[in-house]
Each structure stands twice: as C-alpha cells, then as structure tokens.
Subunit: 305 residues, 2 copies
C-alpha cells in the first residue's frame, strides 16, 4: 500500500510585499508530498526535473520517506521554472515567467514498484498526463484525488472533463467551480460537478476556508484567520497533500474522515503560507500540527443542542 | 427589561435577477426587530415614518410583540425610500434612488416607557443619531450592538469613531473592517478596531459566514450554502436582530453565548434572502428556525479529539 503523488517538482522565484526569493524549490508534487509525509510514510512520487535540480533536494524528499524512484532526472535539460509576483492583497498575482523545460515532454513513467498504489494524488498538471497515470496503474487506487486549475479549463476542457470522470475527489477553487459548471451559486455548481464523475468535490476558498460536497451533504471548514500571509505559493497543493495523507493514514474513505482530512489539510496550508516556499512545511513537528488543528477546533466549535 | 431597536422603517423598491417589487416595507429597524421577535418578546422600536406608512404594517409589528410607541408618524411627510438593483452575482448592487424624506430631520425621541432598556440595537443610521439614543438612555444598557456601513466612514468618520467608543459589539463587513482600520489582514483589522471601543467585533462576510473577535479569541461561523439567493436586502439587519434577540433571551453576555447568537442570527439571515423583502421573516415557526440551526450544526461539525 502506498500513496502516489504526481505533479511538478520545479523551481519558483517569488516576489511578495514581504520580500523576494531567488530560484527555490517548489512545484505541486513537492508541496503535496511533503505535506502528506506528516501523516503517511509510504509516499512515492512521479515527476520530472532537469540536471539542474540539486541532489540534496532529492535527499530531503527521501528524509521525509518519499520514494523518488519515479522522479526522472533529464540530463542536459532544465527543470520547470515559474516566477510570480503577488499583489498587496496576496490574493492575486502576476506570472512573470513560465519556462516549461522538461515539463514540455513529460511522460509519467510508473515504476513497477509503484503498482501497489492505493491512494493517488494527481497534483495540478496537464489533464492528459494526469489521465495517463490513472491508465498506467494496473489496479484502480482506492482513492483518487485530483487538483486542477482554470488554466486547463481555458485550454484543455475536453481532456479535463475526460479526466474528471475517472477521479473520486476534485479540488478546485470557487472561481474554478463556477467556470467548470457555468453556475454562480456554489451549491448549484457542486451539484453539476458531482454529475461529472467525482463523488466528492472540495471547493477551496482561500482565506474563507473550504467546502466539501458529497451527495446531499455539505461540510464547511473554516480557514484560520492569519495576521500575516507571507507567501501563498503552494498552499493549495499543501492542502491537497495533507488531505490525502490523512485519508491514507485513516484508511477508510467516508464523509466523516474527509471532514477531518480537510481540517488537517487546512492546518498544513496555514503553516505553508507563513514562510517563503516550502521552508515551513519541511520541518514541522507532530506537536505543532496537533496544536494548530486544535486552533481549528477552537475556532469553529459552538454548543447548540 | 426590554430590547430597544433603532434604525430605519422605510420603503424599498428592489430589483434582482429574479424579479422586481413595487414599494415594499423595509428598513434596518424593521428587519432587526422582526428577527429579534423570534427570541424575545419585549421589543421596542424607535424610528420615524411619514403618513404614507400603512397602519396595518404598524399592527404587524405589534403582532410580533414589537412596541411602536417610539415610532414617530410625521403627518404630511413621506417615509424614507430606497431603491436598488442587484447584479447577477447578488453580491453587488446599484442604488437607483435614495429619498431621505422624514429621515432628514430624525430626532430619536425615547418614550419614558422605554427607559427599562437592557439591550440596545443601533441599526444602521447616522452615527450622530445612534449616539443621541445612547445619551438619552438614563441607564447604560447591559449590551449595545451597533451596525454601520462604509457610507458613514466616507462622510462622517469622526462621528462614527465617537459612537463606536460607546458600544459593546460592532458589526461590519470585511471591506468595512479594512476601511475602518486601514489593515488588509482581518486579524490585524480586528485587533485595531477592538482598541477603538467595542469589546466584540463581528465581521460579516456574506456567503462566507462571519467572524467574531474578542480579546484573543476568534470564532468563525459558516454561512449556509444556498442554491438560490432571491433578495439579499436586509440580511445584515436580520442577522444583527437575530443576534441581539438571542442575547436578550439568554441574558448573559459572554463569548460562548455570542457564538450561538451568531449562529441564530445567521440562520435568520439565511431565511431572509429566500424571499423578497421581509416576506419570509414575518412568518417563521420555532420549528423552522430549530431545523435551520441544526443545518448549521451539521454543516460545521467535525470530530477531532
């Protein structure tokens, strides 16, 4: 039994009102696998980097019990690079540069060793590649979680709809839920999206928390109100990684466990934004996570009989 | 002991994507007192209308145990009138007409009979008038809740700051909290506003719920995700009325009771938007309110030890 994470492993250069970074390690699979590693210890990654990717960064994955056999290192090529600048409100950003590099021809090869996958996290990537991974697994995983974004809705909607059909949980933000469904009301949007394939839909609302939809059930998770958001990069991937990591830990797929998984994912995401890049989520303790989750409990508990 | 509500009692003409109304009864004090009436039966209102205001509407207040001795009826004058048109997203609106009429010279006279006020709801009005009401009460109420809006921040900030000093609970929306404090982060905004006088701050976030701040405590209340928002007019006033009505019912001012009061206020507001104007909140049953509150419990409960 293992948790397979696919997505980008890449370099980011980030500018926020609080400062800017040189090239630092980022990417959806990086954030998601690091977050999941706090809950589950059989994590395997499928991704591609160039020979510019530091060996010590790969070792750091391994230190988090993340198997990197499926991390292809392309000699003579460069890793995917994204650069962005956040506005003062930290809710919007401009992309300054996107260099696909190795990602342009990414063929997600699944090592034989990875065929024991029970939990599959499809981090944000071309829907075509996400779909290929599902098809290459000999047994369908017990739980497939897919993250995606408006970019793919704009340029690859047909592929996206094909891929969505094959997953259990879809995670998108509120604007994306509206775009995908053509409905403004999130209740109507969710109802429509739940007919497209996924049995569960998570709508991420950033500082407003997240909504989980399943059949006629809705769960509303709060976000932790933060005094400072230092760098929002990777928060969504961290959320998804924490979510599926917790689900892999508890092992039973149901609505109640998913509610808790959303709280744990939100807690991990709340750490993520406190420092640049992956800095904060590389070195968390169990104690810190427990205390943060208790803050969520405090935040949302009321007592009406 | 009584709950005094001040604010507008007026006419609205509303246009939404679902239809439009002729002049119907609205106003902050109308919504707030009707909402409060489901929790408390000694409600008194101070407001002003013209002789165009229907007698049967005043009787309907009385049917809800709302004392209208303080409702001034100005002969030969017209009631306050507001007309607005909501955009498709129902989150923004254009004001089509504002006719102050009787409101232009509103002097909030407090009948002697009203001096037993223990709970005071200052519905949205000129801060100057809100302040006058506080000063005219011989004994300071046990709980003063004040609702206001960006309009007064734009044109009467000094008066607003003076009035805010005198209240216990301030209810504003997120944009207004940012405007009032000059801080983007709601945590920082709340910290600043809590030094301006109020001991409690409620930040209303519409479809994203509400946040309650007090000392170092934060409570995050969800909003009920709705398939249809028919008419948002009065939702904030209904929320505030439900909130203070519940507080008057339980009688003890503390953070835990306020958390519940926010849930009851949110439940009432969720009814309000289901029909035009006050239609829905005039005829609720205890059973309906109880069931709606249970939906909020279901929506936000998770079980992490």
């Amino acid at each position: 039994m293992s948790l397979l994470v696919i997505g980008t492993v890449a370099f980011d250069a980030i500018e926020t009102p609080f400062g800017k970074t040189d090239k630092i390690v980022g990417g959806a699979a990086t954030y998601a696998s690091l977050a999941a590693s706090y809950f589950y210890d059989k994590i395997k990654i499928v991704a591609v980097v160039g020979d510019d990717f530091p060996t010590e960064e790969i070792k750091d994955f391994n230190n988090h019990h993340i198997d990197t056999e499926g991390l292809q290192v392309k000699q003579g090529e460069k890793s995917f690079f994204w650069s962005g600048k956040y506005h003062n409100d930290m809710n919007s950003r401009d992309t300054l540069a996107t260099e696909l590099n190795v990602l342009a021809n990414f063929d997600p090869i699944i090592p034989e060793n990875y065929q024991d996958c029970h939990y599959l996290m499809l981090g944000n990537l071309t829907p075509q590649v996400q779909q290929t991974v599902i098809k290459r697994l000999k047994n369908r995983p017990k739980l497939i979680v897919m993250d995606t974004m408006n970019f793919w809705m704009d340029i690859a909607m047909d592929d996206l709809l094909e891929t969505i059909k094959m997953v259990d949980v879809l995670t998108i933000n509120d604007a994306e839920a509206r775009q995908l469904s053509g409905e403004y009301s999130l209740v109507k949007a969710a109802k429509k999206i739940l007919t497209m394939g996924p049995k569960y839909l998570i709508i991420k609302k950033g500082e407003h928390g997240a909504l989980l939809f399943h059949e006629n059930h809705i769960f509303s998770a709060p976000a932790l109100p933060l005094a400072e958001v230092f760098d929002p990069t990777g928060a969504g991937d961290t959320f998804a990684g924490g979510f599926i990591g917790y689900m892999a830990k508890v092992g039973t797929v149901n609505f109640n466990n998913m509610k808790n998984a959303i709280i744990f994912g939100s807690a991990l995401a709340s750490f993520c934004v406190e420092k640049f890049g992956t800095e904060k989520i590389r070195n968390l303790t169990e104690q810190e996570i427990k205390a943060r989750v208790q803050e969520f409990v405090q935040l949302s508990t009321f007592d009406i009989k």
